[in-house]
């Protein structure tokens, strides 16, 4: 009996943590809609970008594109290891930054890369996290 109570309590924990889940899902759906209306290429949503980090990361680089992606569930180092591995398999990825505090991935691509939200989204979902929104900058 105690075990059952424990399990039920566990399932209710995320609701106690915050109520971001529904909001995040709404963002995700919005992002998907936007992607589809753009032919599945890019998403531009309100995402808080750390400009100083972006500047530092792209210093000395040119002909690049940077995708900044909000990710749900990226709360620990281990959670993000798989994302780093998955994205770095792409030869057009120049660099990648994981921001655990903001829950963001900053992926620097060679300018040849046609950044596709669905491709990025699939990689994140395959790793067990959920993408929220994305913004692409060309430098």
């Amino acid at each position: 009996m105690k075990s059952i109570v424990l399990i039920l309590a566990f399932f209710s924990l995320p609701a106690v943590a915050n109520n971001c889940h529904t909001e995040a899902n709404a963002d995700h759906n919005h992002a998907h809609d936007h992607a589809q209306s753009n032919g599945g290429s890019e998403i531009s949503a309100n995402i808080e970008i750390d400009e100083s980090k972006l500047k530092k990361m792209t210093a000395g680089l040119s002909n690049i594109k940077v995708a900044v992606v909000g990710v749900k569930g990226m709360v620990c180092d281990f959670c993000a290891r798989g994302l780093e591995k998955a994205f770095k398999k792409d030869k057009l990825v120049v660099d990648l930054d994981v921001d655990l505090e903001k829950g963001q991935l900053m992926i620097v691509y060679n300018a040849e890369k046609n950044i596709d939200y669905n491709e990025i989204s699939d990689k994140i979902i395959a790793n067990g996290q959920e993408p929220i929104k994305m913004e692409v900058r060309e430098i």
């Binding site: 075990s3 424990l6 399990i7 566990f10 399932f11 924990l13 995320p14 943590a17 915050n18 971001c20 889940h21 995040a24 909000g70 749900k72 569930g73 709360v75 620990c76 180092d77 281990f78 959670c79 993000a80 290891r81 798989g82 994302l83 591995k85 998955a86 930054d97 994981v98 921001d99 655990l100 505090e101 829950g103 395959a126 790793n127 067990g128 996290q129 959920e130 929220i132």
Partner: protein, 203 residues
């Protein structure tokens, strides 16, 4: 093996993917784990084809029955919830011993964590020829004294409470967890439980 136990065992091992999912590791990830406590020493390797489950082999030196054996085992994520600041996972696990179908285990475990807080629990039943059964439960609570960035050394101060069939009641003891990159080290010590150590390397 009683029919009810057997059905629970099968359900645990092959529980549907339909529900939800999380990596036991990330897709294509390999993991080595070593555990040592008052009950057993073990070395466990598992591979995760997807983030939803892992399959592996565990070599065990069982101190309670003074035997060595191996488990073919599987862990499956049956539910995961991601939020912007937390993740909650719920797993089922099961394994069959090299001693035969009469020696097996099944159980569930779960965790919920933010960058600052961690909580986890586990329930595991081990059956040895329907005679020497063990029912093990634990609860683990932790707090990170500081918030590390990606690639930093992460530290957790934790308290583990556990009970198995050999114990009269629950025992609690402090646990320290450190991880950096692909390495995790966890160690706890209690007067009654003695050392409880766990090493992990993921690649």
């Amino acid at each position: 093996m009683g029919i009810v136990n057997f059905l629970i065992f099968l359900l645990t091992l092959f529980i549907s993917n339909v529900v939800h999912a999380r990596p036991v590791s990330y897709p294509g990830g390999h993991t080595f784990m070593s555990k040592s406590n008052a009950s057993y020493d073990s070395l466990y390797y598992h591979y995760s084809p997807t983030f939803k489950y892992s399959v592996g082999i565990e070599s065990v030196i069982d101190k309670r029955i003074n035997k060595k054996y191996a488990y073919a085992r599987s862990t499956r994520l049956i539910n995961r919830m991601n939020t912007k600041s937390s993740q909650r996972n719920f797993y089922a696990q099961g394994g069959i011993s090299s001693n035969g179908f009469g020696h097996y285990f099944y159980g569930i475990h779960g965790d919920w964590e933010t960058r600052r807080l961690f909580s986890g629990f586990g329930i595991k039943k081990t059956v040895v020829d329907d005679s020497q059964n063990d029912f093990e439960r634990f609860v683990l609570l932790g707090i990170a004294p500081y918030l590390g960035g990606y690639g930093d050394l992460h530290s957790w101060l934790m308290v583990k409470s556990m009970r198995n069939s050999a114990m009269d009641n629950w025992k609690s003891y402090p646990v320290l967890r450190f991880f950096k990159g692909s390495f995790l080290v966890e160690a706890g010590y209690g007067q009654n439980t003695k050392w409880d150590a766990h090493l992990m390397y993921r690649f």
